[in-house]
């Protein structure tokens, strides 16, 4: 490289010259993401009020322990006895999956590198990190395994869809179940649709389903799939936020119904 390349930058004293409200976006992200983390951690510790028949909170699905209040796949589940279950709620057996999926998501990475790491807080503002190695060292180099968490996330979409199907089966007072639709059923379907939108608009999904192909005309199916996912992918940030709200609000709705604070309205 020529010597001039490392010569001195323009001697401008101010760290940046932006005069707009550049701090508004990172601040909003800190508040919204922070509140969600606080709420979901609190909810996961509760170990109660996540099951208001026939509704199951997404934080506690699927049933992985005999101590669960609900049954996802019918009766006769093996009794998984893990020592931590006594201390922690079953939610912790589950939340690592969707949690790590979001943590390694390309969009959330942008959001938290900017808002929490301040690296950079906004464009053309100084990076708050003095030493910077990006995603080349441990632990951030592990972000490259995002696709494996996408595989996990797809399994969760299947499970939550099943829960949403079961949300049509209301318990009869006399025993047994009957078909019905309540506000909770709609809440659970809205949630699973937004979560599926988020999961299938993922950048790794886009790559795995077709982005890795160099000559699309030789792989027409993957090309069509890639095309559809590309359209979805443009909305990935929107899905990321909407599904974050929906998953939290679904838990809250079911919690409040279970606590008797609100009544679930039966539509059919």
């Amino acid at each position: 490289m020529s010597a001039r390349v490392t010569a001195a930058r323009p001697p401008i004293a101010a760290p940046h010259l932006r005069r707009d409200a550049w701090w508004a976006l990172p601040l909003t992200v800190v508040i919204v993401l922070g509140s969600f983390i606080v709420y979901s951690t609190w909810a996961a510790f509760q170990n109660a009020h996540y099951w208001a028949p026939p509704y199951l909170s997404p934080f506690y699905s699927p049933c992985l322990s005999a101590t669960c209040l609900h049954v996802t796949f019918g009766y006769g589940l093996p009794e998984i006895q893990l020592p931590i279950i006594g201390i922690l709620s079953p939610a912790f057996l589950i939340l690592w999956g969707p949690g790590l999926f979001r943590l390694t998501c390309y969009y959330y990475r942008k959001a938290y590198y900017r808002s929490f790491w301040l690296s950079p807080p906004a464009c053309a503002l100084p990076d708050a990190q003095r030493r910077y190695t990006g995603e080349t060292r441990f632990p951030l180099v592990l972000q490259n395994y995002h696709r494996y968490l996408w595989y996990v996330a797809v399994i969760f979409i299947v499970l939550l869809t099943w829960d949403a199907v079961l949300a049509f089966r209301f318990p009869r007072p006399a025993g047994g179940t009957e078909f019905g639709i309540g506000v909770g059923t709609l809440v659970m379907w809205a949630n699973v649709i937004l979560l599926a939108g988020y999961t299938f608009s993922c950048h790794s999904c886009r790559h795995v389903c077709g982005g890795h192909v160099d000559v699309f005309s030789k792989a027409p199916t993957r090309y069509r799939l890639w095309h559809v996912i590309t359209r979805l992918n443009e909305q990935h940030p929107t899905f990321a936020w909407l599904s974050l709200f929906s998953v939290g609000l679904t838990d809250l709705y079911i919690r409040l119904v279970s606590l008797g604070v609100i009544r679930d309205l039966r539509i059919i």
Binding site: V5, E135, N144
Partner: protein, 252 residues
């Protein structure tokens, strides 16, 4: 529009400061027009680089009120009346004088990119590409080499030491367009990972935010490159599958 107050950086690598100019603005003017008016009437030695005045040559990059922009594409009606407007050179590169910087880093990086090496022609002596094969890379060819993305990228803007092993967003789109080319035969994966340093990018998208050609640099070039790098260096399943398939691309 009435008289506008402009704070324009004057100076070179040894020293300099913002100088205030008050200048008339006519309706429809852009920042570059005012810079020219200052140059014509008040500071004939003001150094500024420009060519097309149509947002296509990529010469007039500057930082206006702290945001990397093309001066010729920044209309004056964007700003609130009465507030001073600052115009600084792009700060990611060495100063030459006033608004002009030395962007040769980018030419050094351009030379390092392993070029296209196309496969042999088909039996009838021709090449065939379908529209869907090249649609994806068309976007990258819109680049006007204004280097605003290179300027804003915090990887090198704030960490000079990274310039050595980081190609920057402009060359990530170049690498993506070569890597996704239907006729190409070069395996650039090691280059993308080590020499171009795609792992240094933390996908915070400032390059995309400032690109005057609205190229989706991060979503359509950098992230796909990171995913291709994961195929090659991180994913054991892909690695295993590749063992059973013949490699189509050769190292640069």
């Amino acid at each position: 529009m009435p008289t506008v107050t402009m704070h324009v950086f004057r100076g070179d690598a040894r020293g300099g400061d913002f100088k205030e100019y008050r200048v008339e603005a006519d309706p429809g003017m852009v920042v570059l027009d005012l810079i020219h008016r200052i140059q014509a009437t008040q500071a004939t030695d003001l150094a500024v680089r420009w060519n097309c005045k149509a947002g296509k040559c990529g010469s007039c990059s500057a930082e206006i009120d702290g945001k990397p922009r093309l001066m010729c594409m920044t209309r004056m009606d964007l700003f609130n009346e009465g507030e001073p407007i600052s115009v600084a050179p792009i700060r990611g590169f060495p100063a030459i004088r006033d608004l002009v910087t030395d962007v040769s880093y980018n030419y050094v990086k351009a030379k390092q990119v392993p070029p296209l090496r196309i496969k042999p022609p088909e039996p009838d002596g021709t090449y065939r590409m379908m529209q869907e094969d090249i649609d994806r890379i068309q976007e990258f060819h819109k680049c006007i080499e204004c280097f605003l993305c290179q300027d804003v990228c915090h990887v090198i803007r704030d960490h000079e030491e990274n310039k050595r092993a980081f190609a920057g967003p402009r060359f990530f789109i170049k690498l993506a367009s070569l890597d996704m080319h239907p006729l190409d035969t070069v395996d650039r994966s090691a280059f993308v990972k080590d020499a171009a340093g795609v792992g240094l990018c933390n996908i915070t998208k400032c390059c995309t935010e400032v690109c005057p050609e609205h190229i989706h640099i991060t979503d359509n070039a950098i992230i796909p490159l990171k995913e291709r790098m994961a195929d090659e260096f991180f994913d054991p399943v892909v690695w295993l599958l590749r063992k059973f398939r013949s490699k189509k691309k050769q190292p640069a």
